[in-house]
């Protein structure tokens, strides 16, 4: 019996795995960990990042000491509206994109021109948010004189109605008009992933159900949906994270109105328009804290799915 000699280079010491992850760790430390820690530090400082946030307190006004930036981030009236708007975005856009994506995925699964139909639905994903914002800005355009160049108001006035200021009538119409743009852009993404999951559903068990007398409605809700549920959950959590940090559409189309601001645009305004790094950092930390549980759930789900394979 000969002993196999393992070349020294193939022996794994304790150090070897660490060396492999080192580049990734270095990059993450530099670009994620350090900025995060720095942001948390700045959130306890004043507007210039020099003195303690407690110095921002005003006499005879509510004050949370060193947490003063958090008091403003969590209780300020404009911030409360941003939270409300973000909640509305999550409710409407996540259900809208997932629902529409699933519906389209199921429908195109049964037609011959599936690739073409899917390509058309997916196309808006290829447009930048800013581009989409400008395009939809034209759709929603409102003119107080002359011809209506926005297609929606052209239709409304063509039918004899009064033009509607889609993007400035608050607090619901303007937000919903912006959310529609988000749904238009992201439905294709959800559709693609859900469609792939649908293809993975074994036809044998669906056949078996049909032989047992289940109608298509029953097959869909009792067989297909439970089987692709892990994928649906991943799509939903991914969309929730996406929507929590939604920025571009509101920035391009919102015109700075307090009525449509979301958390990310408030963060931007405080930092880059008003140069208030303390409050901006506090808003960023709040946003991170909101995203972490969803991201954690997403990773857990992903690992479970991997384990199932």
């Amino acid at each position: 019996m000969s002993t196999r000699v393992v070349p020294k280079i193939m022996k794994q010491g304790r150090l070897m795995p660490l060396l492999f992850v080192l580049p990734a760790m270095l990059i993450l430390t530099f670009f994620v960990v350090y900025p995060t820690i720095n942001t948390i530090g700045l959130s306890f400082k004043d507007t210039k990042g020099e003195l303690s946030a407690a110095t921002l307190c005003v006499k005879d006004q509510p004050c949370w000491g060193i947490f003063e930036n958090y008091r403003r981030a969590l209780t300020d009236e404009v911030m409360l509206r941003a939270f409300r708007n973000n909640a509305l975005w999550i409710i409407l856009m996540v259900t809208g994109t997932t629902g529409m994506g699933l519906l389209i995925a199921v429908l195109v699964d049964r037609v011959k021109y599936e690739p073409l139909a899917k390509a058309v639905i997916f196309l808006p994903m290829a447009i930048s948010f800013v581009g989409a914002g400008i395009i939809w800005g034209f759709v929603y355009d409102y003119a107080s004189f002359g011809n209506q160049t926005g297609i929606l108001n052209a239709i409304v006035t063509g039918l004899g109605g009064k033009p509607i200021p889609w993007l400035t009538r608050g607090p619901w119409l303007n937000n919903i008009c912006l959310i529609i743009v988000g749904i238009w852009m992201w439905t294709g993404f959800c559709m693609t992933i859900l469609s792939a999951a649908l293809k993975g559903v074994p036809t044998e068990i669906l056949e078996a159900a049909r032989v047992d007398g289940a109608n298509e409605w029953r097959v869909f809700w009792s067989m297909v949906v439970p089987i692709i549920m892990p994928t649906i959950t991943v799509v939903i959590t991914t969309m929730v994270v996406n929507v929590l940090k939604i920025f571009d559409i509101v920035y391009v189309m919102g015109g700075g109105q307090p009525d449509v601001q979301v958390i990310a645009t408030r963060m931007y305004q405080e930092q880059f328009v008003k140069y208030n790094s303390g409050l901006s950092s506090a808003i960023a930390v709040v946003l991170i804290l909101l995203i972490i549980p969803v991201g954690y759930m997403n990773i857990r789900r992903f690992q479970q799915q991997e384990a199932m394979r």
Binding site: V58, S144, F145, P165, T168, G255, Q257, V273
Partner: protein, 398 residues
């Protein structure tokens, strides 16, 4: 032709706010003098006021500095050279001299200015309808009522400007405050010695709202005001038939109209009048922007250049260049290539006082909240809530 005042062969250091095209315009005006007197100008253009502040603190100020508004002058007063005897101050109206003064001594002189308190109109449309240019606020509102009675819409009031939507409204409100309370009140407001919740400020917002959010006075009512871009708001005045008759807009409006309607002639087809006074005191102050220059060193070449910059000769060259209006009273309306610019310069230098944009000078980026707040108010927001929010922000910022 040029008086070099003993500065020949010297060097002058200068920090100014202009760079790029504006720097080129500025240098082109000074060049003949610099060449003739063999003075070297070392110019540094930056919008960052910290550059100057650091240089002054470090004991190394430039000979001459240009500032975006005179409010900044106060912090340097101890280091500045009084301009009496260097600049021909008599060529500037008392309003300009007092703006350039710190505690009664003139330290700053104004090189270039622009105007905001103007109402643009279409003289042809006025003639066709038999309207005349109003000379008092009451006449202006009576004209508005007359236009409504004739079935027209008097005002076009668009304030749209992307992320900064609302700045036009803040200029309007300041114009009203200047006519009800006067420029001193506005300065107190800038320093937050007057609260945002002050009844006079609230009244100015309400008076503005009464015009721009009214379906009868303003084209498209509140929705039209918020959704129409500030430049586009000028167009309906020149449609046939006109959809509106009056638009309060800054001096740049003439350029906007000329570009949109190249066939129209200034004065004949489009013109402006000064937003009229509500009473003799404070009259009709002019709101606008102007760049002020101060001196840190009284070296011979610096004095010579300063004297030239504020001479009628340099003012005439500024007027001719079409870059801006000269605050120098000796620069006549005829010096300007455009009759409207000449008229603007005259209106500016004859105004009882000149007031700088208030919100631009407030700390903590409060102007952006002001823009958003006034837009929200026009859209139906509660005025007391909005003013209280601005007051809270101001309290924290000062």
């Amino acid at each position: 032709m040029y008086d070099c005042m003993g500065g020949e062969g010297g060097t002058v250091t200068m920090i100014g706010v202009w760079s790029g095209d504006e720097e080129a315009n500025f240098k082109a005006i000074l060049q003949p003098y610099l060449t003739e007197c063999n003075i070297t100008l070392e110019y540094e253009g930056t919008r960052d006021q910290a550059v100057l502040a650091t240089r002054v603190e470090g004991g190394n100020p430039p000979d001459i500095a240009g500032l975006p508004n005179p409010g900044i002058m106060g912090q340097y007063a101890d280091n500045l050279v009084p301009l009496g005897g260097i600049v021909a101050l008599d060529d500037f109206s008392p309003a300009w001299q007092s703006l350039g003064s710190v505690q009664g001594t003139v330290y700053g002189a104004f090189f270039k200015a622009d105007t905001k308190s103007l109402v643009w109109y279409n003289p042809n449309a006025f003639a066709a309808a038999g309207y005349t240019v109003p000379t008092t606020w009451d006449e202006m509102m009576a004209l508005s009522d007359q236009i409504v009675a004739d079935g027209g819409v008097p005002w076009s009031t668009g304030i749209g400007s992307g992320d900064a939507t609302g700045w036009v409204a803040t200029d309007w409100i300041q114009d009203i405050l200047l006519r009800t309370e006067g420029p001193d009140f506005v300065e107190q407001w800038v320093k937050h010695e007057v609260a945002w919740t002050d009844p006079a400020i609230k009244a100015a917002w309400e008076e503005y709202y009464g015009i721009v959010a009214s379906d009868t006075y303003a084209l498209g009512g509140a929705d039209g005001t918020i959704n129409t871009g500030f430049a586009e708001s000028l167009y309906p005045l020149f449609l046939d038939p006109p959809e509106a008759y009056l638009d309060r807009m800054a001096g740049f409006a003439g350029g906007v109209i000329a570009e949109q309607y190249p066939d129209l002639n200034e004065v004949d087809d489009y013109d402006f009048f000064l937003l009229p006074a509500k009473s003799d005191d404070p009259g009709a102050p002019m709101q606008g922007g102007a760049d002020v220059f101060v001196m840190f060193n009284d070296s011979a070449p610096a004095k010579a250049l300063m004297a030239y910059m504020f001479s009628q000769m340099a003012g005439d060259d500024l007027a001719k260049s079409g870059w801006g209006l000269s605050p120098n009273s000796k620069v006549g309306a005829s010096a300007y290539p455009s009759a409207l610019s000449g008229k603007m310069a005259t209106a500016m230098n004859e105004a009882p006082s000149f007031s700088f944009d208030a919100d631009d000078r407030m700390p903590g980026g409060i102007n952006m909240d002001y823009f958003a707040g006034v837009t929200e108010y026009i859209g139906g927001g509660d005025l007391d809530t909005i003013l209280q929010r601005l007051e809270d922000l101001a309290t924290a910022a000062y």
